[in-house]
């Protein structure tokens, strides 16, 4: 088992109106982690702490084995970071940015950079102030990918992008997947951006990590059951069931620990299982968040 690409444990950070508490996440090499949370949940703060841009108030952070924030100059040699908030120098051209980045990073793949220019349809001589939002994100992604980083950190990269630009960027990101030593951390407030390609999923809400596990595990353990309940009879509890919503004789049960015994259990209790559905990652996310907000333990 090789060393994790990054590790945060017990990380706290307080601001006047926001607190990040007990953040604990790690990623094994060769994986993609989808980091999902509503706006203001703490994704950007966590990512900035990971990159050493902000210092944690307590807890340990390691990026490619380097302690953060002290080791950030070394760590960032192999880590590239793109954030939706990031801007380029408006008076300089795309080419000038490429030259600047190439001059400060240890690995710059000039051939690949040229390929990306063509694929993204970016003009090297164009000043960045003339770039649309989509083109700017593509330029930032180009500058990150051409560095051939071991870890690529993306903070809301797809936000505000048209579907075509999104696919263009996604196609290039998948190139990283073919290398089992390279990883991606990808944050979004939108599960769909992240769901398809992520190996690991981490949910964050109100400054706390709610859940972090592999995606298939999420999709396998969560189910929604539609039941027909005899009138007046409350449903008996079952481990893992986190929500029961009833309306007349119909009940919808949401469980985070589905086993094949569950439908049988309800049948025995006198209910009829009409349907057992898988849940989308978005539905799982909302259910996790609601459940954690009601019981923040």
């Amino acid at each position: 088992m090789s060393a994790p690409v990054f590790e945060l444990s017990g990380v706290d950070k307080s601001y006047p109106y926001f607190k990040l508490e007990g953040v604990r996440i790690q990623l094994a090499p060769g994986q993609i982690m989808g980091f999902i949370g509503a706006n203001g949940a703490g994704k950007s703060t966590t990512i900035r702490i990971l990159m050493g841009l902000i210092a944690q108030q307590c807890g340990e952070v390691r990026l490619l084995g380097h302690p953060m924030p002290e080791g950030q100059a070394l760590a960032k040699r192999d880590v590239a970071f793109v954030s939706e908030e990031m801007r380029l120098y408006s008076g300089a051209t795309v080419e000038q940015h490429m030259q600047f980045v190439a001059s400060v990073v240890p690995h710059w793949d000039a051939t690949y950079a040229q390929q990306l220019l063509r694929r993204f349809n970016l003009q090297p001589q164009q000043k960045t102030k003339g770039l649309s939002h989509g083109q700017r994100m593509k330029a930032l992604v180009l500058l990150a990918l051409a560095r051939r980083p071991r870890l690529l950190v993306l903070d809301e990269p797809m936000t505000g992008l048209d579907p075509v630009a999104r696919q263009e960027i996604l196609a290039e990101l998948m190139d990283i997947v073919t290398d089992e030593e390279r990883s991606i951390l990808f944050s979004s407030h939108n599960t769909q951006d992240v769901e398809q390609v992520s190996d690991q999923i981490t949910f964050i809400d109100r400054g706390r990590i709610i859940e972090s596990r592999d995606k298939e595990s999420f999709l396998e353990r969560w189910r929604r059951l539609q039941l027909e309940v005899p009138a007046g009879k409350p449903l008996p509890p079952f481990a893992g069931v986190i929500d029961v919503t009833s309306s007349g004789r119909t009940a919808v049960v949401t469980t985070k620990a589905f086993t094949p015994e569950l439908p049988a259990f309800y049948n025995q209790a006198g209910a009829v299982v009409r349907e057992v559905q898988h849940m989308t990652l978005e539905e799982i996310f909302v259910a996790e968040v609601m459940s954690s907000r009601e019981d923040p333990s």
Binding site: G30, Q31, I32, L170, A171, M174, D175, V177, T178, D179, E180, Q192, E195, Q196, V197, S198, D199, D214, K215, E216, L219, F258, P260, E275, V276, Q277, H278
Partner: protein, 130 residues
Amino acid sequence: MNSTFLISQADPRPMYLQLMEQICQRIAVGDWPAGHELPSIRALAADVRVSVITVKRAYLELERQNVIVTRQGKGSFVADGADLGLRLRSQELGDHLRAVASLSLLLGVSVEELSQRLSEMRDELTREKP
């Protein structure tokens, strides 16, 4: 560049199942004959734009069903007789359909009703599958 595999988020079935089905299709029609080497997990993940873990799961399931064989350090290959097996199953389906068609004609069941009942049956089976 688009992949010839198509994973749809609109499809309610889990992605790994969709992938398995499409792999089986290729085997059944003969595009991937017995002994054919499957793309590496990472290459396929990148090509189809799904997570590595999804492809891993699909490959594991296919191996469990003896459709493919994974050799440590060498890769995954279409199992001997896998294509045959799938083609046989496909043929079996054809035979069953023939029987259903003739029975429905006999009983005067319309195509629409047939379709409806088939659809319901499939849904029921999908539900039951854990």
